[in-house]
């Protein structure tokens, strides 16, 4: 065995820092490090410590650098932090920068196959023989490179006090109980743990201890959560085209729907999933399925949303229910395809041509992704219009500690759809686009309805109340006005915002989606610094009355979001021009999840202006 390199840190010998730091592992994409990283994350979670894990990966299958950051937080903060106290370097290409990135007093670990000069004496530095440990664990030669990353799991387990039983539990979950891969990986971890025990001396203060702060939580990514939600929402048709970071949404439906929906003795499937040739076809298919009375969904990201524009306009105007998940990434075009963003708000809200107002639902947690998975169908069918669920890469693809999924608290709402018996019971003849109830929402029928006069002709051309072709000016205007009434009605059905208040707060913060954890954390810091803020988390467009009341009730409201142009801020200005002076925009658009530090400092800077 090689002799370990131990460099004693000069500055960090002090009190232990327990359950409150971030660690980052730098590896090469495609090197199998994902298993190691989620194993660490899950083991910590099972120890009862609040954790969040974020994968910062390149747009590449193999070879480019990738970083995985785990934050452990006794206080339950889940946002990304900007400092890394513990860093593991496994990638020669980024070694120098990784070494420089360790916070003073922190710990740096690296595989001893990396030969670089260590130019810091304010941190603890340890190397470990990753490749040798993989070999000595007995792993077959062809798998050694792949499992070598498990060595840092064992070393960290020893150096940070991570419970080895929990690591085993995490591996059992990851490999679905299959003993062979579990034993293979555990072998390397055990070997590394033993090696570390014999050779490394702890000189930094960072470690973990079991707590009881994760019971009643699960770990889930937003895409899987949304997919399961869609399954519980009775999804019947899915068409999709692969794109990061949305693919795993449709894939999770494919992989899981049978387990939930196929029942013994059933004479056939209750759903169909088609991988389309592009996003135009994906939305076309879902629009066709929505027209024919199915709960239908497609998932995509910004580039796909652009391609769906014409269909989105048609579905809005022909009044066809369809759900679109937009898992946002940094655009335009390829942009930064593996980085997170909230950049599709404006384009999606107005997606179409002519006058269009699309309904957006914005989940802020994995649990909410599940809820919006089913609720989006109810709203879309109730309103007979597209509903866009605006998730993002961070929420969709990373593992989140979240409250368990809850069974839908309402029966399925199929909206105003008429079948043969319903038509028979009508006193007046049915007309496809007549506003019978005064809420702007007409009644519809679906193909397969055998009642004479049930059929209608869906079209993008001007039409009268009975869906007949019409170019009459008054018909056009009446129809467009009804669509406005319908949009107003939608505000009674979309999820209301979530409010967090503090006594005496005069400053408001509005944010949405995956910005949530950073805003919550920043609110605590600001309060500690003497600035009380209230926080409204938007969950939908159209805005509900709570939003107006919130802005009106505060001297100033900051709209914090992850795009350059302050897109939600602009929508709020359009909606509430009379309160424009009270609204301020705070934006961050570097592709990274928001940090509380940035929110706090930029808000304070604005306040001092």
């Amino acid at each position: 065995m090689t002799t370990p390199q131990v460099k004693e840190a000069k500055t960090s010998q002090g009190k232990a820092v327990v359950n409150d730091f971030s660690m980052t592992v730098a590896t090469m994409n495609g090197s199998g490090s994902q298993t190691s990283n989620v194993t660490l994350l899950r083991a910590l979670f099972k120890m009862g410590i609040p954790v969040s894990g974020k994968n910062l990966f390149p747009s590449n299958i193999q070879g480019l650098p990738t970083w995985y950051t785990i934050r452990v937080s006794k206080d339950g903060y889940l946002a990304r932090r900007e400092t890394h106290e513990v860093v593991v370097a496994m990638n020669p290409d980024t070694f120098v920068a990784d070494l420089a990135s360790v916070a003073p007093g922190g710990a740096f670990f690296y595989g001893d196959h990396l030969k670089f000069e260590i130019n810091r004496d304010d941190i603890s530095v340890h190397s470990f023989p990753a490749k040798l440990l993989a070999k000595e664990s007995g792993a077959p030669a062809n798998l050694r490179d792949y499992v070598a990353n498990m060595a840092y799991v064992g070393v960290l387990a020893h150096m940070l006090d991570i419970d080895m039983d929990k690591i085993r539990e995490a591996l059992e979950y990851h490999f679905d109980g299959k003993e062979k891969p579990i034993a293979l990986n555990m072998g390397v971890i055990d070997a590394a743990f033993a090696w570390s025990t014999a050779n490394l001396k702890k000189t930094d203060p960072y470690r973990v201890e079991p707590m009881d702060k994760t019971s009643g939580f699960i770990m889930a990514d937003g895409n899987t959560a949304g997919a399961l939600g869609a399954i519980f929402g009775g999804v019947q048709f899915v068409a999709w085209y692969p794109i990061t970071p949305a693919s795993s949404f449709a894939e999770a439906i494919s992989q899981n729907i049978s387990a939930f929906r196929d029942k013994e003795g059933q004479d056939g499937k209750t759903y169909a999933i088609v991988q389309a040739e592009d996003e135009l076809a994906a939305i076309g298919m879902t629009v066709g399925a929505g027209w024919s009375g199915l709960r239908s969904v497609t998932s995509t990201s910004g580039p796909g949303i652009s391609l769906m524009t014409e269909f989105a306009g048609l579905a809005y105007y022909a009044e066809i229910p369809v759900v679109v998940w937009d898992v946002q990434r940094v655009g335009p075009s390829t942009g930064l395809p593996t980085r997170t963003s909230q950049g599709d708000i404006l384009s999606t809200h107005f997606l179409g041509h002519g006058d269009t107002q699309q309904i957006l639902m914005i989940p802020g947690s994995a649990q909410e992704c599940f809820e919006f998975g089913w609720r989006s169908f109810d709203i879309s069918e109730r309103m007979q219009t597209p509903v866009f669920v605006m998730s993002d890469l961070d929420l969709g693809m990373n593992q989140w500690m979240t409250k368990p999924f809850e069974y839908p608290d309402q029966p399925m709402d199929r909206g105003k759809i008429l079948w043969e018996k319903d038509l028979e019971a009508l006193k007046e003849p049915w007309m496809r686009y007549k506003d019978v109830d005064g809420d702007g929402v007409p009644y519809r029928t679906a193909p397969g309805n055998r009642a004479p006069q049930s059929a209608w002709f869906a079209r993008g051309t001007g039409h009268d109340e009975s869906a007949k072709y019409s170019e009459r000016a008054d018909h056009w205007e009446a129809n467009m006005d009804r669509l406005v009434r319908k949009y107003q009605t939608a505000s009674q059905y979309v999820p209301a915002p979530v409010l967090q208040t503090r006594a005496g707060a005069k400053i408001g913060v509005i944010a949405y989606g995956s910005a949530d954890p950073a805003i919550l954390e920043a609110g605590d810091y600001l309060a500690a610094d003497g600035l009380a803020t209230d926080y409204l988390r938007l969950r939908a467009v159209p805005f509900t009355d709570e939003v107006r009341d919130f802005i009106a009730a505060h001297d100033k409201t900051y709209v914090v979001e992850m795009n350059r142009d302050g897109q939600m801020h602009k929508l709020l200005l359009l909606e509430y021009p009379e309160m424009a002076a009270k609204l301020s925009s705070l934006v961050k658009y570097d592709g990274l999840p928001l940090s509380a530090l940035w929110v706090k400092e930029s808000l304070q800077a604005e306040e001092q202006k």
């Binding site: 048709f237 068409a239 939930f260 298919m285 066709g288 027209w291 024919s292 399925m412 059929a455 002709f457």
Partner: protein, 351 residues
């Protein structure tokens, strides 16, 4: 309303499902008088009436163009979707899953199909969606006033467009290349053949492409144009004499000498009887199909008839194991939403 049968005029012919031809019509056409698309609409009406199809059992779909307007002019009692330019195939694909017991009939134009819609056209054939897909092919964009489409022949000269310099797309050749399971060509001037092919297409369990040369009398009907009435009449060369025999009807071959006919048994029990003309043609051979298409291009003839048929390949909706005879859009909430106990399973799947 319901007592009309008693007072029905004796001279109104009712079919086996008790409907008159009027029940199959649509709104008054707004296309130009003499437009080939109108005669195709008439044959769709006649075919559905004669096949005793209940109009509510059909969905009709189209893209955008003069041709794509025509679904408004037939089968008023059928659900219809006049969708987007070039995107009808995707809408049809999704729509088919709502109630897979319905028949789908789609109308498109040459521009709609081979220009803007080439991608979706190809992919719906790969998927073998059970649908009749009629391409009303006039070599031009009628609705936008006469620009060249991708099927216009090289050298075609049009008054306001000049000369077409590009190589034309051949709809049936593209269909063969993409694995369509029913490929036919016809000519709007040959009403009987059009009707028989539509009937056969409606009996096919898979994608039936029917490329119908359908002259645009306003923009592309000079006698030397490949999409004109004049050229079609002069150059039409049927592959065979084509007869559609519905399931209920007995096949009478008495009049044909032995060895001069072929029969193709269709999915719904009907039969296509092909009577040999100049050559003995086997429409189940891909190689033969490709060859006659090539030859017809070289010889500059309008080859019509059933060029290829494969009755074996499962259709799109077969592949998806949908319930027998029961529509997805009739599923109850209990069938669609997993039970309360299943939420435990969902949470247990997570870590």
């Amino acid at each position: 309303m319901s007592d009309t049968t008693e007072t029905a005029m004796p001279n109104i012919q009712l079919n086996l499902v008790g409907l008159s031809k009027n029940d199959y019509r649509g709104a008054q056409t707004t296309l130009c008088a003499g437009c080939g698309h109108n005669s195709i609409s008439n044959q769709i009406i006649a075919a559905a009436y004669e096949l005793n199809i209940v109009p509510e059992d059909v969905i009709k779909l189209s893209g955008i163009g003069c041709s794509s307007k025509s679904p408004a002019y037939f089968l008023n009692r059928s659900f219809g979707f006049n969708s987007l330019h070039g995107r009808m195939p995707s809408v049809a694909t999704g729509a088919m899953f709502g109630d897979h017991t319905l028949k789908a009939l789609a109308v498109s134009g040459d521009g709609d199909t081979t220009n803007i819609g080439m991608g979706q056209f190809k992919h719906i054939m790969r998927r073998n969606a059970p649908m009749v897909y009629i391409v009303e092919n006039n070599g031009v964009y009628g609705l936008t006033k006469g620009q060249f489409s991708a099927t216009a022949e090289m050298g075609l000269r049009l008054k306001y467009q000049g000369i077409n310099h590009y190589f034309p797309v051949d709809v049936v050749q593209e269909a063969m290349a993409s694995g369509a399971t029913f490929v036919a060509r016809s000519f709007a001037g040959d009403a009987n053949q059009v009707k028989a092919l539509i009937k056969a297409g409606l009996s096919h369990n898979g994608l039936a492409i029917i490329d119908i040369i359908s002259p645009c009398v306003t923009f592309n009907n000079n006698d030397d144009s490949r999409h004109s009435y004049g050229w079609g009449r002069e150059h039409q060369e049927p592959l065979h004499d084509f007869t559609y025999v519905p399931r209920e009807q007995e096949i009478q071959l008495g009049e044909f000498p032995e060895g001069t006919t072929r029969q193709v048994e269709m999915h719904d029990g009907s039969t296509i009887v092909l009577k040999k003309l100049d050559r003995d043609y086997d429409p189940t051979s891909r190689a033969a199909a490709m060859r006659v298409i090539e030859e017809s291009q070289d010889e500059e003839v309008l080859l019509t008839g059933l060029i290829y048929v494969d009755t074996e390949r499962p259709s799109l909706t077969d592949i998806y194991e949908l319930p027998q005879g029961r529509a997805l859009n009739r599923m109850t909430d209990t069938e669609l939403r997993p039970g309360k106990d299943m939420i435990e399973k969902a949470n247990a799947m997570m870590f």
